[in-house]
Assembly symmetry: C2
Homo-oligomer: 257 residues x 2
């Protein structure tokens, strides 16, 4: 039976557990009592405990391991590597403007295709829905394993008939958007990035090696030329577990009255 009172049982339990973690009663690495024990302690059903623990697992506070000697543990804060997104890097050569730090990263172009723009992409590029685009899929590899993926879109109308129509073909293959656009007389002056939290699907999480958490960051990046026209846009999918996406901005000088 549900409670006649305010707070649902599973939230009450989740609250209690969260307190013990944040106030240090249960330090990092501490093993929680198993389900039957929690059921007894809080005097609720087994599924209620499960729901509470699931909630905290989703928040990244707990981590469950199966098997004998397994259990639910207070999770260590993630050790993530920085993924810098600075003004100088954003437009730099090197394909994606992505330069993971502290490791030998390799970027691999998966596939390139000429496809009609889906609605969202068309909106970001400021072109007609269904207009042709060159779509390129990238994987960023570390030790031959993908750690982030990206999909880039360029309006076909911009590069059609030029040597740079294919990002991964021609004389400037792999030289990056800015250099390629410069080759055909287009000056890229601005980049915007919109990072959004996303829930990774199981396949995505597995591909990207994110075992514990399925949270990720989807960065919508768009390059603009000097007239404000969008010349390229990309979806960059970053597993949160492995990266610190770091924006480095210069600060304006302090105004003095």
């Amino acid at each position: 039976m549900a409670d006649r009172q305010q707070e649902p049982h599973y939230l009450r339990v989740a609250h209690a557990l969260r307190s013990r973690i944040t106030d240090g009663t249960w330090p990092v690495g501490h093993k929680l009592p198993n389900r039957p024990a929690l059921v007894e302690e809080f005097d609720v059903g087994e599924n209620t405990v499960r729901q509470a623990v699931e909630l905290l697992t989703g928040e990244g506070l707990l981590e469950a391991r199966r098997g004998r000697g397994g259990g639910t543990y207070v999770r260590a804060p993630q050790t993530q590597r920085p993924l810098p997104r600075t003004a100088s890097l954003a437009g730099a050569p090197g394909r994606l403007g992505l330069t993971p730090q502290g490791m030998d990263a390799d970027i691999e172009a998966d596939s390139t295709a000429k496809v009609p723009a889906p609605p969202q992409i068309a909106a970001r590029l400021g072109i007609e829905e269904g207009a042709l685009c060159v779509r390129t899929e990238y994987d960023v590899l570390v030790k031959r394993r993908p750690v982030l993926t990206a999909t880039s879109w360029e309006p076909y109308a911009l590069t059609s008939g030029t040597p740079v129509v294919l990002p991964e073909g021609g004389p400037l293959a792999g030289r990056g958007v800015v250099a390629r656009m410069a080759e055909i007389g287009i000056t890229v002056t601005r980049v915007t990035e919109v990072p959004r939290p996303v829930q990774l699907t199981r396949e995505q999480a597995q591909i990207l090696g994110a075992v514990q958490s399925t949270q990720g960051l989807l960065i919508e990046r768009t390059h603009y030329d000097s007239s404000g026209r969008a010349v390229e846009t990309a979806d960059i999918l970053v597993p949160a577990e492995r990266w610190n996406v770091t924006y480095d901005l210069p600060s304006a000088p302090a105004p003095r009255p």
Copy 2:
């Protein structure tokens, strides 16, 4: 019984439902069949359907309303307002360097206290754990309702004995970090921001008016002076449902070989 096969039932159901939404079979506003109907269609248990629907609700794809005439509906894409994070804005006056667009926003300082630095904050500021800090809590209000919250930390050692020791007191109250630090001879030259996906707790979601989805972005922002020393750091909590956090970066000129 669980499946002896690859994908769990609830994920299979979630997948199927997600497809119908994204491919337009079920447009925005469409009412899903109720639980018993879905149970019948997918030939699974009631809780399995619930789990699948809950998953998609958490992703913000579905929205459930209780009661007669209620049901589960395909949710309209969020109308998000841009929250620009540009180089010029990041260090600008105006307390947080936050300037939500398209609305009359008001920033309210909740409370200021002198407290010992918790481990994570100490690490970000590069000071001893437990060293004293001035902590200030902010709410950004729109129409008197909070839409994002922030907690700012400054080393007490920096501002102790100066007129700007309290961010919200003294001659430069509310003028922002850069201006206040300039007043005591500290030049802020860099800002870094690390946006991380977080799962909002229920209370947070409710406070921030994010009813449907509980995904958010926690931005760790740190101001540095010209010597590279951290002079302030803040946690800015943004409900993803309501904001597009937008970084606007200048692009480096294309290098020509």
